[in-house]
Symmetry: C2
Subunit: 104 residues, 2 copies
DNA sequence: CATTGTTATATCAGATATGATATAAGCACA
DNA sequence: TGTGCTTATATCATATCTGATATAACAATG
């Protein structure tokens, strides 16, 4: 769902819950968001085992707050950033592919 | 590689070839670009079997020229768009995951 | 408690990706 | 050739994502 749409709904008093229980998402939008969330979770797991958010941020020329957002599924974070961050934790294309493939 | 960097080099007379033979890419940058290219190629294959660029574009609220760029590996195209387009061709997370996993 | 290290939240100006549009180029076929 | 259909290239205003910064919240340890 586009941020615009979400903000509009929220301004009208809607509460936005988890993605899956919001029925007006097309299945493609749902899948897309689920892919991002799966990457988020995996990023957090991997990163926590080896470094701080600040360290990871500096590896990819980003900032600690942005890594925090990435790990928390903030939707201002793109898949681009999630993947760049994953790669910086040493994740291989195979690792990343498996995470995405596991989204069902 | 950031567009800025590429443009700078080109302005200095450098010719930019394929990504892999440009040695100053970090391995992570290389992998990232290769993931995008793999998605591009697969998108083109899938889309050609079932619809025109214009049709796919309208499915995802995009435009025919942007799908052309996506299929041609233009680097103004993000992974976001590539994945949204793939999903619109009916690709599953498993399909997408396999493509990414196959990048070596 | 205070300090230190880490992560979360908020804001913002600037960078980048976007869809729209115009138009060219290619391609099949009459 | 020319007509229709499809894809490629170029440009642009605007939406979106970005890293930076400030600062709050939290956790562990002295």
């Amino acid at each position: 769902m586009k941020p615009v749409k979400k903000e509009y709904l929220e301004s009208k008093g809607w509460k936005i819950g988890t993605v899956s229980d919001f029925l007006e998402l097309t299945s493609e939008e749902t899948i897309f968001v689920e892919i991002k969330l799966a990457l988020s979770r995996s990023l957090k797991d991997r990163r926590q085992k080896m470094m701080t958010q600040a360290e990871l941020a500096s590896k990819i020329g980003s900032s600690q707050p942005r890594i925090a957002k990435a790990e928390n599924g903030d939707d201002s974070v793109s898949i681009e950033l999630l993947i760049r961050a994953m790669l910086a934790t040493g994740a291989t294309p195979k690792d990343i592919g498996q995470i995405i493939a596991s989204v069902g």
